[in-house]
Amino acid sequence: MTRLRMLLVALLPLALALLALPAAAADNLIVGAIYVGSVNDYGYNRSMHDGLMAMKAAIPGVTVLEAENVPESAEAERVMEGMIQQGAKLIFATSFGHQQFAFNLAQKHPDVDFEHAGGWMQAANFGNFFGATQAAWYPMGVAAGKMTKTNTLGFVAGVPIGYVIGNINAFALGARSVNPKVEVRVVATGSWSDKAKEAAATGALIDQGADVIAMHVDSPATVIQVAESRGVYSIGFQSIEASALAPKGWITGLGFTWGPFMTATAKSVIDGAFKPAMVREGLGEGMIAIAPFGPAVPEETQALVTAAADKVGKGFNPFTGPIADNAGVVRIKDGEAWGGDKMGNFDWYVEGVIGKAK
């Protein structure tokens, strides 16, 4: 009797799944998304979740399957395989390290389309996308350069790879375009998500006189909260929702707005016209947005920041030579400019940044 009941209980989900299958097989698209962290991080994972929700709101009948805290290991493959078994025909693998595992599944399931955030792999059913963040940091620098009173800006970096250094460089260039006396101090924690170190790094920067703190880690929450509690300004990154964490010290921030891209991708899958590409879009294309300004930011500063953002959106490249590194060596010559293909190549900081890049 008990064994029979156990068997029935075990079979129940299967029976339910079978009942649900015909509905799933209809033309209503099921989209899967995997996140490396929690969607309540006020950061990167939140921005991805918000994008999926915008897509869901824009296309009636779309179902979204989400999985949080999916590690960058074979576990990711199992989670995505489960989504495919539930009928997902489009999958967003949103962390850099999910790439290989999503790609393996793309080979195995040619009828399922994949989009990976930040990678480079390509196949007929596998594309990738990311925000062109570097130039977008320039207007953030303008904001910080105008707001600082100590002329010292702090930047908490995760892993100091070329793209992160590019963000810091554009931030410094923007700040010095409005305030040549500004210096930027950088602390790299060596991890994308280590809250204790992020808090200690923020404190160390404030101790050195920084009164505006920016960051590039997965979740800006810790850095912003510590800055707020110490009474200094902050500039957010990843999700524009982070402004809620600093009602007093928030200046502005950059947030990814993946919604339009995800919506367009889902529509292309519904129409059977999925076209993989290496998509890198910035402020101009609407993949990155500037967050609303905080209460402390004067109107003229807001106007300057907005103007700088418009300039970048229309194609202004902050990495137009001559640009020297912080040891005085000219790295980008007069008449030269570094484009999107070189943003991962930075292993040097521009003049005005204190510290070593390698």
């Binding site: 309540n40 810790t222 070593k356």
Partner: protein, 129 residues
């Protein structure tokens, strides 16, 4: 041994367990409420394993564990302080410091001889039958 000396081993073990839970709770509360002002899943970032390693390095001696914790914490803090102060050292080298320290401590504790783990660690004892 403790039993022979007139103590009640089970009670002692439960006391140690309760104390460990309390100290862990205090550490967690400090991390989320006092230091980072935020909470997130997995926010200890593997520090629990460092604590276990510390206990082994300290040979189950609480005083050495405190000293070891200060050295490890100090190394981690230095790595951030040096960067904020603009000391001219590569951040990659600085990030190596806690690991180098681990190797050093391992080497020295290796020289000291066999691990000093308590004989009854992980075993239950309910008296002699």
């Amino acid at each position: 041994m403790a039993y022979a000396a007139g103590y009640r081993p089970a009670l002692l073990q439960y006391q140690a367990l309760a104390l460990a839970g309390m100290l862990g709770g205090i550490a967690g509360a400090h991390l989320s409420i006092a230091l980072t002002l935020t909470w997130a899943e997995g926010m200890t970032a593997g520090r629990g394993f460092i604590a276990i390693a510390l206990v082994i390095f300290a040979g189950w001696n609480p005083l050495w564990a405190v000293i070891g914790a200060l050295v490890f914490g100090g190394a981690e803090s230095l790595q951030l302080q040096f960067q904020a102060r603009g000391v001219d050292v590569s951040p990659f080298l600085m990030n190596m410091v806690p690991y180098l320290l681990t190797l050093l401590v391992l080497t020295f504790s290796g020289l000291r001889g066999r691990s000093a783990a308590p004989a009854a660690l992980g075993r239950s004892f309910f008296g002699v039958e």
